[in-house]
């Protein structure tokens, strides 16, 4: 029997990941010296990885 994730939980997880991603991408854009396409692509990718790590860390700390 496969365990299905409740839609609400999936939506919450996606929202949290999106919020982390937005904050981290913004931080990247603020801290680099010149903004160009390559920087935007690398920043978005790094922010995506960072968002996954941030959510994992947050869940590990809050025991959920």
């Amino acid at each position: 029997m496969t365990r299905r994730t409740a839609p609400r939980a999936a939506l919450l997880a996606a929202g949290e990941l999106l919020a982390w991603w937005a904050v981290l991408a913004l931080l990247w854009l603020v801290l680099i010296s010149t903004v160009d396409t390559l920087e935007r692509i690398v920043g978005a990718s790094c922010a995506a990885v960072g968002a996954l790590l941030a959510r994992t860390g947050r869940r590990a700390v809050s025991w959920r």
Partner: protein, 150 residues
Amino acid sequence: MNGWILAATVELGGGGAAALWGVTTGPPARRVVAQNLTTSAVCPALLLLAQGYGRPSYVDLALLLALLGPVGTLVFARLLSDDLAGERPGAWPLTWTAAGLGAAVVLALCVAGAPGRATVKLLVIGALLISGNVIASRALAGGYRGVRGG
């Protein structure tokens, strides 16, 4: 030599030397407090030097110090927690003076530069510096002793 470099020299000569003196003398509780305040003394000086030499990329050094300095203090607070248990070391007037110094330097640099991404970066560094220093000082004073795993 311009005003920024002069200010950085005064800052390093005063705050840096005082921090060095505190770290090398006295009981461990005093040394660990001085070690924590070193970040607050040196980070604004690095910001002033970056402005004085006209090299915005040097600001990254201050950013890294503001990020890693308090982390280092937290490691000390954890490792020395048994030695410091009875002492609750703290120097709140000095801590808030250092925080005010950091805020003043960041504000002065924000006013001096053109508003833009660099201003936001400076504000991020200032927020990291002050919050990191206050949190690390509180950890040294035993403020988080009840926290699980702390």
